[in-house]
């Protein structure tokens, strides 16, 4: 695909994103779209670790929670705008990421996964028992008049939607930049062989810590958006293991280490789970999760590259990779 057609595709995609909520104008449809965007952003952030560096994080909920709690806490206690709160939350999440990644940077594969999982669960239990942040009751930001400055919109979901579209666009642009940067190359190299990377002067420890920090920062900002959208947070909603796992699954389903993978994964899985929950209602309690699980099993056995892998294969894109397959023997 040459640059020109790529530009046209991107413009069409942007137009689609702008028009979509105007066509799907029911509050429920818009809610689903917002959830899709949130998961896409979280999936992109996870992808930096899981896709590029090969570090499987099962603790993204920790960063999400830190972001959500920080901005909400600051808003409730000092009336600080969530815009400032999200930056503070982002940096606190970076701090947590350093505390997690620095000692864990020697761990690989399952061990890194277990460490991140334990970290997030530990943090959840601290928040569950911490009265200053509401403990198990959680926190609810004050209901303020609609304003961009306080990130509260009561009349319509559209502002949330467009802000998240913008956020996702920025994150995807950052991923695209990362892909062709030295850090991007280094992360892929250390995923393939830590020793070889080190033998070529790659400070793998620093690279892993930096990747975790970027991922944590983005995830925390998404946490603030969530808190301001739902206007209620507690450890069970923003810090639980289920969230961490869903972030992994969405990305795996769509395609690990690809730019559009998380978006596709989130679109499929979120709509399916939301629609089934509504259609089946009380009668099929848990059915949405069963179908969700079945889809994951199918894609991971039939197409480990994810749905995006399927798409690129059909369209015969990624010329480099295709050539590689045929001339390699």
């Amino acid at each position: 695909m040459n640059i020109k057609t790529r530009h046209i595709w991107l413009i069409l995609l942007a137009l689609f994103a702008i028009v979509l909520p105007l066509i799907l104008d029911s509050p429920f449809a818009r809610h689903v779209l917002i959830v899709i965007l949130l998961y896409s952003i979280l999936g992109e952030a996870w992808s930096i670790l899981g896709g590029y560096a090969g570090l499987l994080s099962f603790g993204q909920a920790a960063f999400f929670g830190i972001g959500a709690y920080t901005s909400t806490f600051l808003l409730i206690n000092w009336g600080v705008s969530p815009w400032i709160g999200m930056i503070v939350g982002g940096f606190l999440a970076v701090l947590a990421a350093i505390c997690l990644a620095y000692p864990c940077s020697k761990l690989q594969g399952h061990y890194f996964a277990i460490a991140t999982l334990a970290f997030a669960e530990g943090l959840r239990i601290i928040f569950l028992n911490w009265n200053a942040v509401g403990g198990a009751r959680g926190l609810d930001p004050p209901i303020l008049p609609t304003s961009l400055w306080y990130l509260e919109f009561h009349e319509s979901k559209l502002p949330y939607y467009y802000l998240l579209v913008l956020f996702l666009a920025v994150v995807m642009l950052a991923m695209w930049k990362l892909n062709s940067s030295r850090l991007g190359y280094y992360l892929r190299a250390l995923r393939e062989s830590n020793n070889a990377a080190e033998s070529l002067g790659v400070n793998t420890k620093n690279c892993k810590v930096i990747a975790t920090c970027i991922s944590a920062f983005i995830t925390a900002i998404a946490g603030t958006f969530y808190a301001q959208y739902v206007l209620y947070i507690d450890p069970a909603s923003v810090m639980q293991l289920k969230l961490s796992i869903e972030i992994v699954l969405v990305t795996m389903f769509g395609g690990v280490g690809t730019m559009f993978g998380p978006l596709i994964g989130a679109s499929f899985l979120t709509s399916i789970s939301e629609i089934f929950r509504v259609v089946l209602g009380g009668a099929g309690r848990g059915m949405d999760l069963m179908i969700y699980g079945l889809l994951i099993m199918l894609i991971s056995t039939l197409k480990p590259d994810g749905v995006w892998g399927l798409v690129t294969e059909r369209l015969g894109r990624r010329p480099g990779k295709e050539k590689a397959k045929t001339s390699g023997e």
Binding site: S180, S181, R182, Y185, Y186, R188, A189, R191, E192, S193, N195, A196, A197, E198, S199, L200, G201, V202, N203, T204, G320, K321, K323, A324, K325, S327, G328, E329
Partner: protein
């Protein structure tokens, strides 16, 4: 001649096992030094110690006048002491060109500059035609060649090659030796661990022999080939019927 690497009293112990025992020698700039020895002599451990992949128990390693035995592996590589691996460590999911770009990125942040440098190195090592092939799809000979190309891209002052022709067929060995000669021609100092004598003998300026972790001989290739201790290390004591 000016020395580039000075190893003195290098000792590496794994618990009760002494893998490297008081090894002392020097490599001069522009020289080709080979390390030989029977299996288990401690050659790879020695390489690991020099390049920071393992901490030495005692002794010192000085590279270009600077003590490096406490530095990390990437820090040592950045100084210009770069190694390859006996068991090839290709970045399997990346193309040949990308593999080499990683090496070229050592001294530049600019990916475009690294790409150009990689293209030069690919041409030098004869891998240009395979630049888009994924690392995992290469033959073993090409993987070994890629190991060298990647290291060369990082512009090493001293290149440590760990058995870069082991497992190759005679034809591939010949090609590998051609490449080594070109590298020498480019003025890079080489320290080679190798089993295959037909590689070592014609190109080495000096040979160091390890046995059971100790240095048992050092000298010109012809001297080494005739050395009693070396023959004994490889073949055992003379048998008198």
């Amino acid at each position: 001649m000016q020395s580039i690497l000075q190893v003195s009293g290098l000792t590496k112990k794994f618990g009760g096992l002494t893998a490297n025992d008081d090894i002392t020698f020097e490599v001069n700039r522009g020289e080709i030094v080979s390390i030989i020895g029977p299996n288990g002599a401690g050659k790879t451990t020695f390489f690991n110690c020099l390049t920071g992949f393992q901490r030495i128990t005692s002794g010192s390693v000085i590279f270009e006048g600077r003590r490096i035995d406490q530095l990390s592996a990437p820090a040592i590589a950045k100084l210009g002491l770069v190694r390859t691996f006996q068991i090839v460590q290709t970045f399997a999911g990346m193309s040949v060109a990308e593999n080499v770009i990683i090496g070229a990125l050592m001294h530049t942040r600019n990916v475009e500059a690294a790409r150009k440098r990689a293209a030069d190195v690919l041409a030098f090592t004869g891998l240009s035609s395979k630049k888009d092939v994924l690392g995992k799809n290469l033959t073993i000979a090409d993987k070994k060649r890629l190991e060298i190309a990647r290291a060369l891209a990082s512009d090493p002052k001293l290149l440590l090659l760990d058995e870069c022709v082991a497992g190759l067929n005679p034809n591939e060995v010949k090609e590998a030796v051609e490449l080594l000669k070109r590298i020498i021609g480019a003025g890079i100092t080489l320290l080679i661990v190798e089993h295959v004598m037909e590689v070592i003998m014609p190109i080495s300026s000096r040979v160091v022999v390890l046995d059971s972790g100790k240095k048992i001989a050092e000298g010109r290739p012809q001297e080494i080939a005739a050395d009693e201790r070396v023959i004994k290390a490889y073949l055992g004591d003379r048998y008198d019927a």
